[in-house]
């Protein structure tokens, strides 16, 4: 079988397929998205689904495992918070067939709202945990995870980080070896977690974990690499092991942990007794350090290794005093900031542009998606954003808080269509149920855009490649009992429509929903429809008032006193700039 250079995410998908996975579900989230995308290449063998959210994804996979087929759920770190509810109890019921949940953590917040270290979940939820360090281990550990899960009847967390997910290295591929489907026999005492059933299952969980500690200590996934001496013993896991190998070199001895819950206590004790000094290298929290210190072993770890951001080999070497900071060049010029921006033609730009002129009357709350970029200058489009769904639900409390301080601004919550299905609907229901005086804006661009255009329940396709009936957000919103007078559907690029809807919403009292509906400009059918259409500036008519430039479009700039279409190929001809020109200096051509 051949070898390929693939990413950690691709290798997890490959390993899962080889291990005989039959059901896999996920909600897209960087850096985990490519796991399910790559599993969908095997859809003759594997049922794949983008679920509404991570909890649903977890439950789809849990149902499959209990039912007797190997299954996988994948999510980014914050997604595991959403899936935590079923996860804690699946540890009690056990899994029947192998069950693996992948958490893709994001130290450094490359694409996330926090840097949470999900290794604690394994300890807390009493699941087994494996931590691969590179793509080859991603494949191997995924296969091992299914075997361990099935053998010990326990959910396995496969914990990755951005650099493991998105780094590519050589992987030896194998063939699919799917175990037979296990029979599903109704067993309420094991799988229906009523209190009377849960109590004895908890006892089983504790016994199982105690037994698994010895399995961990003797597992080949944990290994000792003796160096040329035993002065320093390094304990590490995941990508941090790679940084440690560079920093400490071949002299040091290593305990390379791949199986980190339950911790291999006897192996750790034995390793530490044979080295003079124990150094722990780990990104994020002191998870290994906590376990080592609990054994009464002295070690150096988070007292020198940063808890914030990503590590790298140099940071580790500097932390332990193994190297000097290298000399670097410095130039007497600096690169201007290049923040990520809303694309040319992005429908969200129309929403934020209309919001900006009404900002004094509105206290906006944002959410997670492409539209998060609207928080940045020049739009400064919202002042708070917590997590998926909070953009709507938190408006209820914020409105109460503003009222308590006689702040008359109207609270506006915004979120996207994929987020609506993920966890916006419950917030909507509570806004209606509480008759809150807030505006809810649904920035509906007809796709999960930020993570690269995945389908969601509102689209007409699914990951299996089938055509399905789209779930209509409007029907759901109307079903809450909100009358048509309190719902507007607008094209956000059309500033007359968009502005009028916002003005009506500000003037109204009680819940008001604005659906800002226009598909993402990068969707293939939209790009095809826009081909050749673009805006041009008539420099004779342009007086240089700069109103159009305020739209902050990456295709537009101002040079030598005139507006200029800076990137004609990028311009989609959306016409937002054109609407700002009172002199008719911008025209749309090609349409």
């Amino acid at each position: 079988m051949d070898k390929q250079i693939i990413s950690g995410d691709e290798a997890v998908a490959r390993g899962a397929w080889e291990a005989g996975v039959r059901v896999a579900a996920a909600y897209p989230g960087t850096p985990s998205t490519e796991i399910l995308e790559n599993l969908s290449l095997f859809k003759d063998d594997v049922y794949v689904q983008w679920a509404c959210n991570e909890k649903v994804a977890f439950e789809i996979a849990a149902g499959a495992a209990i039912g007797g087929v190997r299954s996988l759920a994948a999510m980014k770190h914050v997604g595991m918070n959403v899936a935590a509810d079923p996860m804690f109890t699946l540890a009690y019921t056990g899994v029947n067939a192998g069950f693996v949940v992948v958490t893709a953590d994001d130290p450094g917040c490359h694409s996330s709202q926090n840097e949470q270290d999900n290794r604690w979940y394994a300890l807390h939820a009493k699941c087994l945990m494996l931590e691969p360090s590179d793509s080859a281990e991603c494949r191997d550990f995924t296969i091992a995870a299914f075997e361990l899960s099935e053998k010990y009847d326990i959910p396995v967390i496969l914990r990755m980080t951005t650099r493991v997910c998105h780094s590519k290295s050589l992987v030896q591929l194998g063939q699919r070896q799917a175990p037979p489907v296990k029979t599903y026999e109704g067993n309420a005492q094991k799988y229906a977690m009523l209190p009377a059933n849960a109590r004895p299952r908890h006892a089983y969980v504790e016994e199982n974990l105690a037994r698994l500690e010895e399995v961990s200590s003797s597992s080949p996934l944990n290994r000792v690499e003796w160096g040329t001496d035993t002065k320093i013993g390094v304990i590490s896991s995941g990508i941090s092991y790679m940084y440690a190998k560079d920093a400490f070199g071949p002299e040091a001895s290593y305990l390379k942990l791949g199986f980190t819950n339950p911790m291999p206590k006897s192996l750790i004790r034995d390793f530490c007794s044979r080295v003079d000094k124990v150094c722990i290298v780990e990104e994020g929290d002191g998870f290994i350090e906590y376990a080592v210190k609990a054994l009464g072993i002295e070690c150096t770890g988070k007292d020198v290794v940063p808890r914030l951001g990503e590590l790298d080999s140099q940071t580790v070497a500097l932390a332990f005093g193994l190297a000097e900071k290298p000399q670097v060049y410095s130039a007497d010029a600096a690169a201007p900031a290049r923040p990520p921006v809303l694309c040319a033609g992005c429908p969200h730009r129309g929403f934020y542009f209309a919001l900006r002129s009404r900002r004094a009357k509105i206290a906006p709350v944002g959410d997670i998606g492409c539209y998060s970029l609207g928080c940045l200058p020049p739009f400064n489009g919202f002042d708070a954003a917590l997590c998926m769904g909070s953009g709507w639900s938190s408006t209820i409390g914020l409105a109460k808080a503003l009222k308590a301080q006689n702040d008359e601004r109207k609270v506006l919550g915004l979120l996207g269509d994929s987020t609506f299905f993920h966890s916006g609907i419950t917030g909507l229901i509570d806004v209606v149920h509480s008759n809150s005086d807030v505006i809810l804006c649904l920035l509906d661009n007809s796709i999960t855009a930020m993570t690269g255009h995945q389908d969601h329940p509102g689209t007409s396709g699914n990951l299996m490649g089938e055509t399905v009936t789209p779930v209509d957000p409007l029907a759901i919103i109307s079903a809450t009992g909100l009358s048509d007078e309190r719902i507007r559907i607008v094209d956000p690029i059309d500033q007359v429509q968009m502005g009028a809807a916002l003005d009506e919403a500000i003037a109204a009292s009680g819940p008001f929903v604005i659906i800002c509906r226009r598909p993402c400009a990068l969707l293939k059918p939209v790009m095809a429809a826009n081909a050749g259409i673009r805006c041009v500036v008539n420099t004779e008519k342009c007086i240089g008032c700069r109103q159009c430039v305020k739209t902050a479009c990456p295709s537009l700039t101002f040079e030598n006193g005139k507006s200029v279409i800076y990137d004609p190929a990028g311009c989609t001809g959306c016409g937002l700039c054109m609407q700002q020109c009172r002199f008719g200096a911008i025209e749309r051509i090609g349409g």
Binding site: T30, S111, K168, S169, K245, V328, A331, R338, L342
Partner: protein, 191 residues
């Protein structure tokens, strides 16, 4: 452990990930262990995009720290400047002269450093200028800028004859664009 690190940088949409992939395959064919690390997500929306590539007999970390890049390949002039702190003393910068204005420059809140490359030379770096975007435009497709840079980069590494780069290229670009990509590679390699 002696490894070589190449940092590729530019703006989202310039095809950096594709040439990193081709380079990775070629270096692996040459018998090196290769690791490549990329960052996706928010940065793709017009932000700076980096990939990091390391090769040698044995490679552990896939990433490159400050002062550790043997070579910086920049698809955009000001991005070469931004990546400068990652260049190893004595390392080389291979950069396009293409300018892409970021939002603060477009809206007039920041100045573009038009003399970025002169500043890099003044700082004492070895700078190899490659007009890849301009060559790609001449070839009739600005998008092959990345492959022109690939040709220049492979030559700068001294690896032009060490792997079958054209074959790797053929199997990693769309069938109908093979010819223009090969022309782009050859133009880059001839610089």
């Amino acid at each position: 452990m002696k490894t070589t690190g190449i940092l590729l940088t530019g703006v989202g949409g310039q095809g950096i990930i594709l040439i990193s992939k081709i380079l990775t395959i070629g270096l692996a064919d040459m018998g090196f262990e290769v690791k490549m690390s990329e960052i996706h997500g928010m940065s793709q929306r017009g932000g700076t995009v980096n990939t990091q590539l390391k090769y040698g007999q044995r490679v552990f970390s896939p990433t490159i720290g400050p002062g550790e890049a043997d070579m910086i390949v920049s698809f955009e002039k000001s991005e070469a400047l931004r990546a400068l702190p990652y260049l190893k003393k004595g390392g080389t910068i291979v950069t396009d002269e293409k300018e892409i204005f970021s939002m603060p420059v477009l809206t007039g809140t920041a100045e573009y450093p038009h003399r970025a490359l002169e500043a890099l030379e003044l700082a004492g770096c070895s700078v190899k200028r490659v007009p890849a975007a301009a060559i790609a435009e001449e070839l009739g497709n600005g998008k092959v800028q990345n492959i022109v840079l690939l040709g220049a980069l492979v030559k700068a590494l001294g690896f032009s004859g060490s792997a079958d780069w054209l074959a790797i290229l053929r199997s990693n670009v769309p069938q109908k664009l093979v010819d223009i990509n090969i022309s782009a590679y050859e133009k880059g390699a001839a610089l």
